[in-house]
């Protein structure tokens, strides 16, 4: 198995700042907006974006939740490896809010569908947007598209997009793995 680097840490840094600015453009001071990172991998991106918004663009009172979607997935009992859940940390309701769902890679769209169902437990938001770091074009199973994307990638099904973060792998990078 070989892998090719798609984004290095500098590229990721630039993209994160652009995404943060795009969010500010649409959501101003975030007074009626909440960010929700999808556990486990989307939460690194969500935390990073929240830090940039707070520290570099002086957004105060930013609400960030981390949502686990395991129990809402549509492949329960349909896969070989059992599903393991991670923690949900949502200490607010989303009734009447603008929600931005954040995940690292958008592939089939099924995780996002599960997230839309999972969020119903926390109220009826005014609207929901989707932000992803990597958008894998041509691989969607559902009619779901991102509103904010870091980079669009054309990868065939046998290829895998791998995102690593400083927090877990010592460096920020995005790779494409070939079999």
């Amino acid at each position: 198995m070989s892998k090719k680097i798609l984004l290095n840490s500098k590229d990721i840094e630039i993209i994160l700042h652009r995404l943060a600015c795009q969010l500010i453009e649409n959501h101003n001071d975030f007074s009626n907006t909440v960010l929700i990172g999808l556990q486990p991998r989307g939460s690194f991106l969500a935390n990073r974006l929240a830090d940039i918004l707070k520290n570099e663009y002086q957004v105060k009172d930013l609400q960030l939740g981390l949502l686990d979607i395991t129990f809402y997935r549509d492949d329960f009992r349909r896969r070989d490896a059992p599903l393991a859940a991670t923690a949900t940390k949502m200490d607010f309701l989303i009734e009447g809010k603008n929600v931005v769902i954040i995940d690292d890679v958008l592939y089939s769209g099924r995780s996002v569908r599960a997230a839309l169902t999972a969020m119903q437990a926390y109220g009826r938001p005014d609207n929901i947007e989707l932000l992803v770091l990597i958008d894998r074009r041509f691989s969607r199973h559902l009619p779901i598209q991102p509103d904010y994307r870091g980079r669009q990638v054309d990868a065939i099904n046998e290829e895998k997009v791998l995102v690593t973060w400083k927090e877990t792998h010592k460096k920020d990078a995005v790779y494409i793995e070939f079999k």
């Binding site: 129990f71 009992r77 599903l83 949900t88 169902t117 999972a118 437990a121 926390y122």
Partner: protein, 309 residues
């Protein structure tokens, strides 16, 4: 590890420590779910569960039913009192008739020891033992350990006392297995007539002096005096039992330390425990009930993962 090593939950004695860990980790997530505004997840939409209660139960049945519904499973209930069991139908026939209606999981309580094991060998469904006679009550032991872990951080190395009618208690036996598996020390206390002879072979010490036993322990799990299972007199009078083995505020105040009080319910207030103790800050009796739903959701969820499509 994210899969149970067993195909059914028949008793704690069939579990490994890693199974208990997995159940507790999963239960943590479900505890968060049942504290949301909408306390339900759609995971088990295509699973059907039958609750077969051949013996009376209120809280266990409610707790299982709630756990199943919070996981979005379809639930059917059966109580022996209103069924063909009274007309002489055998256990296997009753269950096979229910399974013919395409049931995936059976939760069963039965007065006979080993009923769950017997059933698991003869029918094609996941079996969860919700109490078999005086033998095991695995989900109760799991929720008890889960509650201790929640209150004290861990079960390992803790000293747990089980007080009362150990002889007739499936809760006691399952608790002993579960606590020892997790590295706790277990002692029992009660009238010698209500302590089974085999108890020392399980590595459990016996203390007949309640005060000494309470001084030793970190947690006291107080059992109900099961009058309905006593066909002979095991102690002279309820009053004498209460005097020697009843837990009251005075005896706890004189210990010089705080201990956690548990009770699997239903409580005989004023017999094995007084109201002021049952309702005190040291009591985690109602936490046990709440945790019961989360732990049962975890067990059902993990077993349902193994149901073939």
């Amino acid at each position: 590890m994210s899969e149970l090593s067993v195909e059914h939950l028949l008793g704690i004695k069939y579990l490994k420590e890693t199974d208990i860990d997995l159940i507790f980790k999963t239960a943590d997530h479900f505890k968060e779910v049942i504290n949301r505004p909408i306390k339900k997840v759609p995971s088990l939409r295509d699973i059907t569960i039958a609750n077969l209660f051949f013996e009376n139960s209120t809280r266990t049945k409610l707790s299982f039913e709630l756990a199943e519904k919070r996981l979005s499973a379809d639930v059917i209930n059966f109580s022996a009192g209103q069924s063909s069991v009274k007309k002489g139908e055998t256990l296997i026939d009753t269950v096979n008739n229910i399974l013919a209606m395409k049931v995936d999981i059976v939760v069963m309580r039965h007065a006979s020891v080993g009923a769950g094991v017997f059933l698991s060998k003869h029918v094609d469904a996941k079996i969860i033992n919700a109490g078999d006679g005086t033998h095991e009550h695995p989900t109760q032991a799991l929720l008890d350990s889960y509650s201790i872990r929640e209150k004290l951080g861990s079960v390992k190395g803790k000293k747990i006392l089980i007080v009362g009618d150990v002889l007739h208690s499936r809760v006691a036996l399952s608790n002993i297995f579960a606590l020892q598996l997790q590295g706790a020390e277990v002692k029992v206390c009660g009238p010698t007539t209500l302590i089974p002879k085999y108890i020392s072979s399980l590595g459990v010490a016996v203390e007949t002096n309640l005060k000494k036993a309470l001084e030793w322990c970190d947690v006291a799990n107080v059992l109900r005096v099961q009058h309905e299972r006593m066909d002979i007199k095991y102690f002279p009078s309820t009053r004498e039992y209460t005097q020697l083995f009843g837990i009251n505020k005075e005896i706890l105040d004189n210990l010089g330390k705080k201990i956690v009080i548990m009770h699997p319910g239903p409580i005989n207030r004023g017999v094995e425990i007084t109201s002021d103790v049952a309702d005190s800050n040291e009591s985690i009796i109602l936490n046990q009930v709440e945790n019961g739903v989360a732990v049962r959701m975890a067990v059902i969820y993990l077993l349902a993962q193994q149901v073939k499509r």
